[in-house]
Each structure stands twice: as structure tokens, then as C-alpha cells.
Amino acid sequence: MSENTYLNDIHEIRVDENNPLFDKTGLLYKEFPSDYRQIRYFTLLIVQSAPLEIKEINLLEQQISEVIKNAVKHGNHSDPARKVRVWYSFDSTHAHLIVQDEGEGFRDLEVWNAFNRKRLEILAEQDFEKLADYVSFRTQKSDDNDGGNALFAALEYWNGGFFFNNKRNAVAMLKKFPQKKHAIA
């Protein structure tokens, strides 16, 4: 593995409102109040439309729940009067979601990207002492329950793209499920 693989492969959160993933045509829709206690329930309501054929449904559930959690907590500040809107579509090959909140948008996006880049650089240098400072992303608003890691995982998981809109209060994401094969294509 070359020294720069981490950096070449770098995943960044991008803002791209014109990305096709923001196209809502044919997507199912649900909206929820920003009640932190019900995040798990909302996630289940969404995931229940995923076909039975999808393996690792729990991982999908967890990832969706993280995104909704971000919308409820960091976007809408758990204000039940504010809504979280979710557009979604699943089949055995993909999961496509758009999650929108009524917040002011993810202002720390650039800070997060810089943090992530720094973290990956340190990882590439294998400087484990420094790495300790880059284990999780925290801001002044973070509380003890914020792991600060959800977005790192999200960037890895949503392998078909993870984009914010210009206002940064909506995120569109796509997961492509690997298809089983028994022969060389």
C-alpha cells in the first residue's frame, strides 16, 4: 500500500445541491417531529419499506438512524415543532435517502473536512500519539452523547455519495449494495 493511499482515497463532505441524488422523483416520503426519543421508531418506519432481500439490514438501520439523529439534534435542536423530512427508496441493489431538517445548516462542514483530512494525514503517518486528538470531532455545541464519529462512518457507508444542499440542512445519500455473483463477469 502506498504511503498516500489514505490521502488519495480521501472522502470529503461535499456541497452539491445539483447532484442527481437530490432528485426526489419516485421517492417515498415521511415527515417526523424532532423528538429525540422517537428516532429509533422513525428509522424503523423508513427501513420497513426495504425489501427482505437486503442483507445487513441492521447496519442500514443504524446508518439511517445516525443521519436522522443529526437532523433532529444538530439541525432542529430537538425542537418538536420542527420537522424532519425524509424521502427514501430501497431495492435489493440500493438505498437512497434525502433527509432534511429545518435548522440553520451544517456550518462546521469545512471545519469537519479539515479535521478529517488532518486525521487521515496523521493516520497515514502512523503518528498514533497525535491520532488520539483526532479520534472524534467535537464542537462547542457537542455534548457527552455526541460520539463525533457518525459522519466518518457515514462517508464510508454511503458509497454512492453523500452530499449536502447549499443551505446545508439537507443531505442526500446513496448506498449501493454489492451484488452476489458466482462467476467472473
Binding site: K24, T25, G26, L27, L28, Y29, K30, P33, D35, R37, Q38, R40, Y41, L44, L45, V47, Q48, S49, P51, L52, E53, P80, P178, Q179, K180, K181, H182, A183, I184, A185
Partner: protein
Amino acid sequence: MTISSFSQVVESPLLAKLLILASISVIFFYLRRKDAEGHSGSFIASMAFLAVRDVMVALFPVPELFLVSDIIYFCFVLYIFMAPYMVVRPALILVIVLNILLAGLYVARFVFGVAAFLPSWLFGVIPVLDILLVGVFAFIWRNVKKESIARQIVGAIWPVSVPVLLAYAVAAIIFGYGNDLFQRLAVPISYGWFVAAALTSIRMQDDQMVTAVSYYESSIDSLYNLLMNTGPALKGSFTTEDVLASMNEAIVSETHADGGLIFLVDEFEDLIVCKSYVGSFPPPVNLPESLPRKANRVESFMKHVEFRLGEGVFGEVAKTGKNIYIPNVTDDPRIVVNGEEEFLRLASFMAVPLMVEDKIIGVAAVARKNRDNAFTEEDFDRCKLLANFGTLAVSNFFSFLAANEKSGLEQSAGIAAEIQRSIIPKKIPQFPGLGIGAFSMPARGVSGDYFDIIQTRSDRVVCVIGDVAGKGVSAALIMVMVRSILHLITNTNKDIATVLNWVNKGITGKIDLDHYATLGIVAVNINTGEVEYSNASHQALLVYRRSSDSIETLELKSVPIGVERTTEYARKALKLADGDIVVMYTDGIVEAMNEQGKQFGRKGLSQVIVRHRDLAPKEIVNRIKGDLSSFVGSVRQHDDQTVLVLKMKL
């Protein structure tokens, strides 16, 4: 002897000669059908030449012509006996050319008187020398391995043919070609060696067929063993590894190999991964530097080894789909030598792709370690045969697994649907003061909607509608729990919100399963029209008021059942008048989407109700169903859809 009349033809030896030649030719023509090497053709050509010669000589009875034709005939003989051996072909050509030159010289001497000083017996000796040459050659080469049928034939017939032809050539010198006895006896007898050749060819073809039959018999035995092995593996367990292991064992035992490997193409990546390791297989590929060169370490490394397409000798087979057969691996560039220890020393190797139609699904390989016991072509054929049939078995197994998985999913979805069907009321009860209509359409694999109608007192009817989050059997089980609790506690004097509180306490945190359900509940006094309504995050209640001919939407904000044990649900009281309609429904109704991506919505539902307000509840429900179905068109139903319509008749 000039033939000038029919009787002369009959009396001459010509007919006998031609008859003999024709009869033997028939045999060779028959043999030619199965003759892959074309040796029958040389015999047929020789006999055709002799037939022409005999006719010519009968027409022009010149002894010189006979000798010239014999010299050429012996060229055919030389060709038949020596041509099967490539090595002697240049010498053969030289001898034939020499024969022809001498024949030419003899003709020139006869016609133009050239080289008249040469005695004529000298030319008569040529056939004798030819046949002596054949005899010496056949004698010297008698122990050389006879791979082709042609070699086997000439190897078998020379002890008969050479003496016969030698005797014939010598007789020609002694008696002269004009001699009647020679013409009538010696010539026809000399053709007898063709009979020997024909009979020998027949025997050879028979032997060949017997060998082929026994080869196919043993192939069928091998296949039988393969199927016998893989069959029980299928019966006993459902792992790919077991099926491959039995296939591998069959290949190893049928090819008498010391070890066998089977690789399968990875499910997601373009890699081949070792799935079965039988016996002992010295690796023909580079081992990692760090791997200790110990038998057990190398073996366990090989048991899980992976290759990219084109990488190493196994990856090569997976990439090209071509067989690799290396009877002796010494100095073969495709084979990597990792050391001289017994477990690293490979002697003989073959690898074949596992193919379904033209798709490569894996690679099978076998190895021998003893240098004196290399794989033969026959082993290689056997290996290919078993790999082909084994691949069929494996590919059938894959289809079976896929079908099994699918049927497993279908089955669990079926169980859930069955539970749901069995707990939803089959018959909708009707009451003097209250008409009820309902329908519930489950979506495949979801099974989360629930409704119920429970009469708790002569004047009190409780209607419930719910939607369990999640899907399948676990959702159906939650539904069963909710229903059981409801049926136990609904018959109470406490208000209807208390019922929801109790259900929530009964469900929340009790079992280690995420379980949430929305629940809407109304209790109707069928004599007075008084209604109590409580809601656990379910869709808003729609109430049609006849007095104002409009729909009221009743919302009670709350959380679903299952979020917190301490949740206190609110209640609302209302009073219905004659003709008023209450509608309970699940999200599957209002969120049903049409082809344009528009939801049916509460509005769509309200419109149907207002439009059909005068109909009986059962009819209203049917209209909702009809409108919804024409609204969504061909879009797939993704969630259960349930509607409950209550209409007061005071």
C-alpha cells in the same frame, strides 16, 4: 496371352485376380469409415493400381510391362510399411525415387535400347531388394513403440507379408512373368497379404473400440462416485464447503492424486478463493516470505489462499479459462518452486477451470508428489470430465441455495401475513346505533397493520387501529401482544386513555426487541353517540359532521407505544350525531403514492368520504378502496393499508 474373346477372359487368371482385389478392397472401404489416420487409403490405392496393372497386362502381355508395374507396386509396399515412421521418410522417398528411376531406365532400355549392356535379371532383382529392405526395417523396428494404428498394423503383418512378397519376387525371377503357373497361382496368392492386413486392421479397430468402451465405463464409474459423494453432502448439510469437499475428494481419488484444491470466484470481488483442500498439495505459487516453511503452516496457508485473476498458475486458469496440464513440473516456468522439502516438492500438476456454460465459477487443481508417477493424458481427461460434472452439481447447489433463501424469506413473510390475517376480525360486527366498515390490505413482507372491534358493554364498542413499526414476524408478534393486552383490559370503567397507558406499560421495555406501534382508539356509546378518543401517535382521526357537511381533523400529539413506559396519553371526548362518520386509517392509505410521486393524502381520503357520506360504512370503505386503487395506478403497494369507517345511526 492376348485377350480377344469373352471365353479367353473367363479362362485367363484376370478375373480371379480382380475378384480377390475387389473383395479385399471392400473390407478396406469398410474400415476406412472409422480410420482416422488414412492408412486404409494406401491399401486401397495399391490394390487399385494392381487391378489396373492386371487389366493392362492382360491386354498387352509383355513381361517387361509386368516387371515395371511390379517395381512401382513395391514402391507402394515400401510406402505402406515405412511411411508410418516419420524418421525414415526421407530414406523412403529416396528409395522410391530410385525405384522409379530404375523403372524408367528399364523402359528406356526396352524401347530405345539404352544401357543394353545391363543384364535384365538386374532389374528383376529390384523388387527382391525392396522387400528385403522392408523386412530388415521391420525387423529392426519391431520393438519400437507403436503409437498409431498404421504402425500397429504393419508391425503385426510384416512376418507374413514380407516372406510372401519375397517369395513372389523371387518366383518372378525364377519362372519369369510369362509363366502360366506364375500368373495363375503366384500372383493371386501374393495378394493374400492384403487379407492379412485387412484382418489385422479389423482387429485393431475392435481393440480400439473395446478400449474406448472401457474408458467410458470407468469414466461413468468416476461420475457415479462423484454423484454418490456429492449427493449425501447435499442431504446432510447445506454448506458450499461440504459439496466442494466431496467433489474435490472424488477428483483426487479418481485421478489418483496426492492432493486437490478447489477455488471459487469470490461473491463480490474478482478473486478466486480456496474453498477445499484435500490431501497434500505442494504449492506451485510463491509463498509469502514471512510464512514459516513448515508443513502445517504451508497447508493452512493454502487452505485459505486467494488469487487475483491472472495471478499465479491458479489465477491464470481463472482468467483464461484454459486447462493447464504439466505432467512433469521440472523447469516449467509456470510452476514456482518453494523448496526441496517433501511438502514443497511438486512433481506433476493439472488445473482446470470450473465453468457453467461460458462463465468461470472457479478452478480445480490436483497434484502428485512422486516424480516417477506423473499424471497421464488419461488422468487429465478424467480430471476435466469430473470438473465439468462437478461444476454442474455445484451450480445446481447455488441455484438451490438461492431458491432456499428466497423461499425462506417468502416463508417468514408468509408466517407474518398469516398471523396478521388470523388476528384481524374476519367478520365486521354491526350494531343498532353504529354501522362499521373496514378493510385491510397487507403489503408483501410488511404485516404491520392491525385493527379490532371489541364490544365491552352492551352500549360500548371500542375500535382500535394500529401500525407496528418494522416488518415480518417480529412486527406480527408485537401485534399479537398488543391485541392480547387490549382484549384483557379494554373492558374497564376507566377512560380510554388509560387503556393506552396500560398497553404502553405492558409493551415497553418488556422484551429485548425494538417494538413500536402507533395506536388509535375510540370508544363509542352506541346509544348516545358519545365518543372517547385517544391516540398513541397514530394518524389523526377524521370526523365527518353531517350538520356542517364537512370533515373535522382530530389530532392528539403523542409518542407511539413502546417509546417510554411513563407516557401518559391524552383523551378527547366528542359527541356524534346521526349520520356522522368517524374514519380511522393507517399511513399506508394517506402516504400511498401515484406515478407522479403524489401522495393520496388526508385530503384525498376526506374527499371520498364527503362524496359518499350517504352510503353505508361498508360501501364507503369499498369506495375508498376503489379510489385509492385508481389513484396509485400501477405503482407497487409498499405498506399495509387499513381503513375503519364508523357511522352513527341514532
